[in-house]
């Protein structure tokens, strides 16, 4: 009975839904500036990927809706159909390819960096405690090395862990760490670089969604072609960002 009522209610809602453009639901994390974050003045999503995603949707003729989801469950919820794409600074790796498929990269593999309190000996990279966000390529990198891995669910927690001494250093994308370092007035500094594995950053799409992947691949090729993507990359990540 409950199920029946629920179904009826849901069907009633659908009557209000407008047809026309295909609605594509874009899943993102909203905690990873400057890739994707929640603009604190407006309360809306903002960032490189939000801007890019809206442009791609416009090019491909989709009406896009944004969905915020925890990083840890972002792949399962895509597979379960709660949204149709992941656009959340996700590196294209073989391990993830077993679960989902990716579009062409819209950003080249970005360098990762180790950030620690000023004066920390760089040897902690090999024998210290390194904070990373769980299920990231950086987590995989530390797990393969000799340092002790300390995982956190959000990128924010990894910085706090370094600040309060729980971890010796944090390993993350350099672009994400940079504002924290420049804001800290010398309290935090980079102590080393690491190469981010993977084939750049792309949109995650269900393996069976061939049409959607083709549509976004075409849109990404178009923005690469006419320089829109390069303009976005330079604006959000600075002059040093490798372009297409």
């Amino acid at each position: 009975m409950k199920r029946l009522m629920l179904t009826a209610a849901v069907l009633a809602f659908s009557a209000a839904a407008a047809s026309g453009q295909d609605v594509v639901r874009m899943g993102t994390e909203g905690l990873y500036p400057p890739f994707n974050f929640i603009n604190d003045a407006t309360g809306a999503l903002d960032g490189f990927e939000i801007e890019l995603g809206n442009i791609l949707c416009e090019r491909a003729g989709f009406a896009c809706e944004w969905v915020v989801n925890d990083w840890d469950t972002i792949i399962p919820n895509l597979v379960a159909g709660n949204y149709d794409t992941i656009i959340a600074g996700m590196s294209i790796t073989d391990a993830r390819r077993e679960m989902i498929s990716f579009t062409e990269a819209y950003k080249r593999a970005s360098p990762s960096a180790y950030m620690a309190l000023a004066g920390t000996d760089p040897s902690v990279i090999d024998d210290g405690v390194i904070a990373v966000q769980s299920n990231t390529v950086q987590a995989g990198l530390v797990a393969e090395g000799t340092a002790t891995l300390l995982e956190f669910p959000t990128p924010d927690d990894t910085i706090s862990a370094v600040r309060n001494g729980e971890a010796d250093a944090v390993l993350a994308d350099r672009e994400f760490l940079l504002p924290f370092m420049t804001d800290s007035g010398g309290e935090l500094e980079f102590i080393g670089d690491a190469v981010t594995p993977g084939d750049g950053i792309g949109m995650g799409i269900r393996q069976s969604d061939d049409d959607l992947r083709a549509a976004f691949n075409a849109a990404i090729a178009a923005v690469k072609e006419d320089g829109t993507l390069n303009e976005l990359l330079t604006r959000w990540f600075g002059e040093d960002e490798p372009l297409f």
């Binding site: 409950k2 199920r3 629920l6 179904t7 209610a9 849901v10 069907l11 809602f13 659908s14 209000a16 839904a17 407008a18 047809s19 026309g20 295909d22 609605v23 909203g30 905690l31 500036p33 400057p34 974050f37 929640i38 603009n39 604190d40 003045a41 407006t42 309360g43 809306a44 809706e65 969905v67 915020v68 989801n69 925890d70 919820n77 597979v79 379960a80 159909g81 709660n82 679960m99 989902i100 959000t154 924010d156 910085i159 706090s160 600040r163 504002p179 924290f180 420049t182 804001d183 269900r206 393996q207 069976s208």
Partner: protein
């Protein structure tokens, strides 16, 4: 919000805070408290109804219904809440889609499960393809209510069952001696009297329900705890209102909110107990009788 908020970085402290506390994200934070209260006020009656159905099933002499009641209560009570909150929306969502798929697309020849993916035809999507964000919010909220009601209904069922058994047997026997049927005796004698026995248990469950609402974020609903974590986290100069890690203040606000909520409910239940004890064959009822006499 205010006219002077265009460039917060040059504002004096009080104006900065006035702008900060009325920013878009903060308004969403305040709204999330309403979502929590709305969820509680919708879930409580639904869970109570589920519990009543469960308790009646437990009392039933008809074996299949009795078994269903037992199965429901014992299964839900034996599985961690968090598993149910993850399981119910996915299983229920896919279940509905599966049924709709078979109704709308009987001649679909591809498999529904393909590797990791669960694929049904366009018409069977729930919420439907192209549904508005509002409809999707209502859908996920409904899923949350169903999950909460299922879990808490089982606890309510056991409490109500215990309360029904606690009504003195002599009362029911007297009712039967007056010629009432089993159903009549239940309706006229057991039902009005059981609540006073059920209240302590129900108040426990209600308090636990209040404290469980942060599980909402698991279901994709941005509740007060999600926003407190998001707002309190350190903000770099990339943001309009940069600040260091302020999570401790935000969690303090949550602490006050939840304590206030539980304190109010405690008082509400105290009043209810007092009210329902009138004329009851319990210690509290006795005390009330003596005071008026």
């Amino acid at each position: 919000m205010f006219a002077f908020c265009t460039d917060p970085s040059i504002l004096p402290d009080w104006q900065w805070f006035a702008c900060y506390l009325t920013s878009g994200t903060h308004l969403a934070f305040y709204r999330s408290f309403l979502v929590v209260i709305l969820l509680l006020s919708v879930t409580a009656p639904v869970a109570l109804a589920m519990g009543m159905a469960g308790a009646l099933a437990l009392r039933s002499h008809f074996v299949p219904i009795n078994l269903i009641g037992r199965g429901y209560v014992n299964m839900v009570r034996g599985v961690p809440d968090i598993v149910f909150f993850l399981f119910v929306p996915i299983a229920l969502g896919q279940g509905i889609e599966w049924i709709l798929h078979h109704i709308h697309c009987p001649d679909w020849d591809q498999p529904i499960r393909r590797g990791n993916d669960f694929i049904v035809c366009r018409e069977a999507k729930v919420p439907p393809v192209g549904a508005s964000a509002w409809a999707r919010n209502v859908y996920s909220f409904t899923m949350a209510v169903v999950a909460f009601a299922l879990v808490f209904g089982a606890f309510v069922a056991n409490t109500l069952y215990g309360a029904m058994q606690a009504v003195p047997r002599a009362q029911v026997e007297t009712a039967e001696a007056y010629g009432m049927s089993r159903a009549q005796a239940f309706r006229r004698v057991v039902m009005p009297q059981m609540w006073v026995f059920a209240l302590p248990g129900l108040s426990n469950i209600w308090q636990i329900l209040i404290k469980s609402t942060p599980l909402l974020f698991l279901l994709g609903i941005q509740d007060a705890v999600y926003w407190a974590r998001e707002l309190g986290g350190a903000k770099t100069s990339l943001f309009t209102y940069p600040h260091p890690d302020w999570r401790v203040w935000y969690f303090l606000v949550l602490l006050v909110f939840y304590l206030f909520l539980t304190w109010i409910s405690e008082r509400g239940f105290g009043w209810l107990t007092h009210r329902l004890s009138r004329g009851q064959a319990t210690a509290e009822g006795d005390r009330l009788r003596r005071r008026t006499a």
